[in-house]
Amino acid sequence: MSSRRSRISEEEITELISKLQSLLPETRRRGASRASAAKVLKETCNYIKSLHREVDDLSDRLSELMATMDVDSAQAEIVRSLFRS
């Protein structure tokens, strides 16, 4: 049996890295050229960390709000308004 060629190629990995780069907010703002893979890795880590912080902050604010909110009747209203927008 001849050696099994892996289906993953260098191009695929490079493509993944450029997809990651296109996710990053920095890139979207500056319309960046190709950054080094190492830079993309670093920025990706920072991006994920900032998303975690945002979730934490939003949870804080939702928590304050939920204390005074009637979630049950809110649910229908919320889903409805999402369909509208």
Binding site: S6, I8, S9, E10, E12, I13, T14, L16, I17, K19, L20, S22, L23, S36, A37, A38, L41, K42, T44, C45, Y47, I48, K49, L51, H52, E54, V55, D56, L58, S59, D60, R61, L62, S63, E64, L65, M66, A67, T68, M69, D70, V71, D72, S73, A74, Q75, E77, I78, V79, S81, L82
Partner: protein, 186 residues
């Protein structure tokens, strides 16, 4: 890269379900209890919307470590809970991909036999190698279930996770905005 609207809708629905199940609007909850319930609901809802993949299974595994979370997890994930709790069978290794990844990231020493000062090239490439290695380690810690991933899957799952996280943030932001706007107070 964006998720489809159906993803966000499913996420929202399950998150609201989680709020109901954990009775977030009850007066008996402390701020922290409420916040944890909200976070847990948001994460479980994200898992539900995404379905089964390595990072979602990793996330369920880490959330399940706390016994108190089990009821809410089951409530939100329903039938999916069992499947997502299965241990990740380590699929066939892709040794070649790890090498390719390392090459892409400039980690392979063999290529660095440059002209010019051997010493200089060696120290800068060693530094670069160490730096990239460090960053991969950081990434593995950030990604749920990342410790068992390498190469292509690590990057692929990272992309998938980041996109889902962004959707989670978007949904929570929207929910906050709408909840404030609709004066549905007790």
């Amino acid at each position: 890269m964006q998720v489809p609207n159906s993803f966000k809708l499913a996420l929202l629905k399950q998150m609201l379900l989680g709020f109901q199940l954990s009775a977030v609007s009850s007066n008996s909850m402390s701020f922290h209890e409420r916040k944890n319930a909200i976070k847990l609901s948001a994460d479980a809802a994200m898992v539900f919307a995404r379905g089964s993949t390595r990072w979602t299974r990793g996330l369920v595994a880490s959330l399940s470590k706390n016994r108190n979370n089990e009821d809410l997890l089951r409530g939100i994930l329903g039938k999916k809970y069992e499947r997502l709790s299965l241990p990740c069978c380590n699929s066939w290794k892709i040794p070649r991909s790890r090498k390719i990844l390392k090459r892409c990231l400039g980690l392979c020493s063999r290529r660095k036999k440059a002209t010019g000062t051997q010493h200089d090239v060696k120290s800068s490439s060693t530094l670069a190698r160490r730096l990239v290695k460090k960053r991969i380690q950081v990434l593995k810690k950030l990604l749920p279930g990342g410790d068992s991933m390498e190469g292509f899957s690590l990057l692929d799952q990272t992309l998938d996770y980041a996109v889902s996280l962004k959707a989670q943030v978007d949904v929570m932001r929207r929910l906050l905005k709408i909840s404030k706007a609709s004066n549905l107070n007790k």
